[in-house]
């Protein structure tokens, strides 16, 4: 127990040390966290009236980001699956980073929800036994369950592996391997349940489409690897952690499949809505072409489509995508494109027009953007700290037999 506390103490100490740039980066993130926290305090004090949400568009940028980061969380499976099932040794060395990313993404998702609800102090109503979780009826209740299980799994597995590595002892398979398999199942579950959360609403024709869950997963497996590639390139640039080129290559190949498929599924949905042009397609009409002169989202969705198309072309030509600079550009385009497509391209139009046919447009105000940025920055901050410590453990700079520097 004492050793474990020392381990934590050393991890924390290690994660806070670093170059000036590293500390500036931490400071930069902290500034955003504080800005977000200040705005969240404002939300608490005056109520959500301070946001631009309304009865018409009752979910805003918080939920949009939530949906995007669920995708990031599910991405860990892209590393976990081949590493543990196909036993790819090169991936095993970095799978911890992927699991930490999943943990952080889930934590951010929960924070996005927490900062979005009207009575966060009643969170205990969601707890088992003392609360009253509406199982099996409510998809949101299911979401709470799968999220928390996934959160715990992704805290336990990398935590255990890192601790064993720190102690210089081999990890016992029984303590993590079965849980890893379970986590693969839950990675798919979190995104499927999140999709079902929207699909299950018969009143919202825009979401009530069976293609949503596959679209979510595919777009997650496009944006997630993109983010992982960036993270790995950054890590190999700034740390001594060896990222084998086969890892980047593997993630690139994953994107080579998922990006075109994502476009194809997008096209399927687009056709299904726009070609028959029923009244149920009003939201899609609004999103892609504008409705009754309201077209706030059209420029966003078409720029997202453009970005995804460019990214697809870039990734499909190996000559280009093997160059790191082009690959990074492609990854950034993918992340931004899918963030728009899944966030404002999916959540907002679901509310517009309202079930009674009124069009109330929504765009987040500065306070909401600040809270969202704050949550994202907090995620990035914790991820940076954890990854820093994890990399030191992985590169044997931090171990029980290595004295603190």
């Amino acid at each position: 127990m004492k050793n474990y506390l020392i381990y934590w103490q050393r991890m924390v100490a290690c994660s806070l040390k670093g170059s000036v740039w590293y500390r500036l980066w931490l400071l930069f993130l902290t500034a955003f966290v504080l800005w977000g926290a200040f705005n969240y305090y404002h939300h608490l004090k005056y109520g959500l009236i301070t946001t631009n949400m309304s009865d018409a568009v009752s979910w805003g940028i918080g939920i949009a980001n939530f949906v995007f980061f669920v995708g990031i969380a599910a991405t860990a499976v892209i590393l976990v699956f081949p590493a543990y099932i196909f036993k790819r040794e090169d991936l095993k060395s970095v799978v911890i980073i992927g699991e930490l990313l999943a943990f952080i993404a889930i934590m951010m998702c929960l924070l996005f929800i927490f900062t979005d609800i009207g009575h966060p102090e009643r969170f205990w109503h969601l707890l088992p036994v003392i609360g009253r979780l509406n199982i099996p009826n409510s998809l949101l209740a299911w979401d709470v369950i799968v999220f928390n299980v996934y959160l715990v799994l992704n805290l336990h597995i990398p935590g255990y592996l890192l601790y064993q590595k720190y102690r210089g002892k081999p990890a016992k398979k029984i303590f993590y391997l079965p849980l890893t398999w379970i986590s693969i199942f839950f990675a798919i579950s979190i995104h499927t349940v999140t999709a079902f959360l929207l699909v299950g609403l018969g009143a919202r024709y825009f979401w009530n489409t069976s293609i949503l869950a596959p679209r979510f997963l595919i777009s997650a497996f496009a944006s997630g690897p993109a983010l992982l590639i960036i993270i790995f390139l950054v890590l190999s640039h700034f740390t001594t952690l060896k990222i084998q080129s086969s890892i980047i290559d593997y993630l690139r190949k994953v994107m080579m499949v998922t990006l075109p498929v994502n476009l194809f599924l997008f096209l399927c949905e687009f056709f299904k809505e726009i070609y028959p042009n029923t009244l149920h397609a009003a939201s899609a009409q609004y999103l892609f072409f504008g409705l009754d002169g309201h077209n706030m989202l059209t420029k966003w969705i078409w720029s997202a489509v453009f970005m995804n198309c460019v990214a697809t072309v870039l990734i499909l030509i190996p000559k280009w995508s093997k160059q790191n600079k082009i690959l990074i550009a492609c990854c950034v385009l993918t992340i931004v494109g899918i963030w728009i497509e899944k966030g404002m391209g999916l959540i907002f139009p679901g509310f517009i027009p309202t079930p009674l046919g009124e069009i109330v447009e929504y765009s987040p105000n500065l306070g909401e953007i600040a809270v969202s940025l704050g949550v994202t920055a907090l995620g990035a901050l914790i991820f940076t700290l954890m990854t820093k410590a994890a990399v030191w453990v992985l590169t044997d700079k931090l171990a029980h037999n290595v004295p603190p520097q």
Partner: protein, 190 residues
């Protein structure tokens, strides 16, 4: 013998004539039955208590002026266009130019505080539905079933039903346009 035959013939003819005549009479009787407007003869068959009109008619009661023999018209004539009758110049607008449509179609001829039915029965203002129902049969039926009109007081018991003139202007029954209450502003900004 011939006489007897003649007698039978005459009797048969008479009978045929009689039958024809009775048929005709019966026919007219039947028609008369159909033509008879739907009326409500008594309050007993109504399910709900009817809200009384008379307590609400306080101002400008007819009998404040029409109280003597000479103040009643005996012949059909257009309504006087003076200031006393300003608000009741048009009754049943579509019948406005019908020369046979005048006060005494509905008001008892010597007692304007009573209504009069086709059957010459005098009824109180509280029973306006009996008068209106003479022409508006289906509406009367809907009213009795509370499809038309308004019942207040409760859904379980204590039901009180408004009669026609609670809502409709007796002299201008067609509903008019009104100014709606303004919509609560949807904007959530304070």
């Amino acid at each position: 013998m011939i006489l007897i035959m003649q007698m039978i013939k005459i009797c048969t003819m008479l009978m045929i004539v009689l039958i024809i005549i009775s048929c005709l009479f019966f026919n007219t009787f039947l028609h008369a039955q159909e033509d008879t407007p739907a009326t409500v003869s008594s309050q007993e068959e109504l399910p709900n208590e009817i809200i009384k009109r008379t307590p609400k008619i306080e101002m400008y009661r007819c009998d404040e002026c029409h109280d003597s023999e000479e103040s009643f018209n005996s012949k059909i004539r257009p309504m006087a266009k003076d200031k006393d009758h300003e608000s009741i110049t048009t009754f049943h607008p579509e019948k406005k130019d019908d020369p046979n449509f005048w006060c005494n179609n509905c008001h008892a001829s010597k007692n304007y505080n009573k209504l009069i039915l086709q059957s010459e029965e005098k009824i109180s203002f509280n029973e306006s539905y009996r008068l209106c129902g003479q022409c508006h049969g289906p509406t009367l039926k809907d009213w009795k079933n509370n499809i038309h009109g308004k019942v207040v007081g409760g859904w379980l018991n204590n039901k009180k039903q408004h009669s026609c003139t609670s809502c409709h202007n007796a002299h201008d029954p067609k509903m008019k346009q009104v100014d709606p209450i303004p919509e609560p502003t949807r904007s959530k900004k304070s």
